[in-house]
Amino acid sequence: MKRLWYFLREAYISLRTHRASTVIGIITTAFTLSSFGTFLLLYHNVHNLIGRVQTNIQIIVYPNDAIEPQQLQGLKNAIQTEPAIDSVQVISKHDALKDFKHQFPDEAHLLEGLGKNPFPASLILNLTETIPSTDMVSNLVNRLQQNPNIERVRYNRAWIERLSLVITYMEIGALIIGGVLALASITIIANTVQLAFYTRQEEIEILRLIGGTNLFISIPYLIEGGVIGGLGGGLALAFLRGGFEFFKHKTHTLSVIGGFSSIFEFFPFSLSLILICGGILLGCVGTLTSMYGWMRFRL
């Protein structure tokens, strides 16, 4: 307990003594985390948006024209056993005709000369996965096409592939941008802590003189780095929230994107926490980087 108090107190003294470099460290960390956070926010919302759009991705199965209603029901039951399928909606020939007449009342006369209902029966399949992979959809379609009762399967392959590609690119982009910005944050925090190291060199020598281990000497600096990183993360979150609210307000008043507030959302609590914890982690890694070089050759 006495040790913990000592560590906290030392960290506080160091932060207070090096106020200028602490503030610079917090602000620069906040900026780098804000840049990363902006990208993360964009990714989060695009991911959500794609999740919503996915509900419109449907696979339409056209059974043989001669299929009996009982067989159609059997086909529906068979398709529903597929794990990738969430729900199946059956549209009979009669329903298809009714829908056409309902949607295009002015064109209904076109069907008058036909003795037979020209519309095929169909099954509309809704997928379970939020964001389906192209492989998953292709495999499903191949399996369906092998069914003798099915004449044709239609789905928007290009649209699904494009979606998958966008998500993959965004993930790679997030990794690269995140990596570069994390490295920048680590360097900045490492320099801030190293400055504290140099200004307190004599104090560190005294601690070594009286039997302080590297760990004992390092803990207050680790706390210091963690505090800088955590506050930087908190500030970044505040920047992002402010920016988000501003953007939301602007788009609302200008009516740039209809229903913006219902489409886009800010980070949920868990992601906000991850951003702050990420800042703390960056701070600690920065301190460790700085300390490793400093202590390596000292007995």
Binding site: K2, R3, L207, I210, T213, F216, L299
Partner: protein, 222 residues
């Protein structure tokens, strides 16, 4: 207690200590004398574990310091106290906080720490100065605080490198008396000093060094 076997030390090719062998028993008071650059500080640093010998072996309480792992050095240091000429106190901490530092490192309870700090401060006559900042103390008081910090852990060995180097004759006498009292309580004292007055006052075993060589080893000053 302390044994050196053919210890040799170089600093960037310059000889600091040459083939030193000696044995120091528990409770002895050993004074290292000789001109500047004789190797007094180097010898203390080797025993303290802040330097490694280039050749030879050093045993401190049957532990081979020459083979000590880097991670074990702090634990070795906790068994001894070290007093330096330039005090090495934290200027913006109180006397109490400075003296308590080795106990915090050891993880002692607040109650135990307080008892030991007050005991150490009483031993050097600084009990009443405990709330004062180290930076406002006089040179003599700073050295007393430094000695209190060195003995607060009840070390078996107390090393001192020119502890009276910055003090006037009156203060030198007082500090030498403190070392004498600490040694009388059974602590092995090993002190590097130029000061003839201190050598006379402590009346211990005198090791005379010059250019890294041990010139003489006298049981007591005459």
């Amino acid at each position: 207690m302390i044994q050196l076997f053919h210890v040799t030390k170089y600093y960037e090719g310059c000889l600091a200590l040459s083939d030193i062998s000696l044995r120091i028993e528990k409770g002895e008071c050993v004074l290292l004398t000789g001109p500047s650059g004789a190797g007094k500080t180097s010898l203390l640093k080797l025993i303290f574990g802040s330097e490694h010998p280039d050749d030879g072996q050093i045993l401190v309480q049957n532990r081979n310091i020459a083979r000590l792992r880097r991670a074990d050095v702090p634990y070795h240091r906790r068994t001894m106290g070290f007093v330096l000429q330039d005090f090495k106190l934290l200027p913006h901490r109180t006397v109490f906080e400075n003296v308590a530092l080795p106990l915090i490192i050891r993880g002692l309870s607040s109650f135990e720490s307080r008892r030991k700090v007050i005991e150490a401060l009483r031993a050097v006559g600084m009990e009443h100065k405990q709330p004062m900042l180290a930076s406002v103390l006089s040179a003599g008081e700073q050295q007393r605080a430094c000695i209190a910090r060195a003995i607060v852990n009840s070390p078996i060995i107390l090393l001192a490198d020119e502890p009276t180097g910055n003090l006037d004759p009156q203060l030198t006498t007082e500090i030498a008396e403190l070392f004498k009292a600490i040694n009388a309580r059974g602590t092995t004292v090993m002190m590097a000093t130029h000061n003839r007055q201190v050598v006379e006052q402590l009346n211990g075993r005198v090791l005379r060094l010059d250019c890294g060589h041990l010139l003489s080893d006298q049981g007591a000053y005459t």
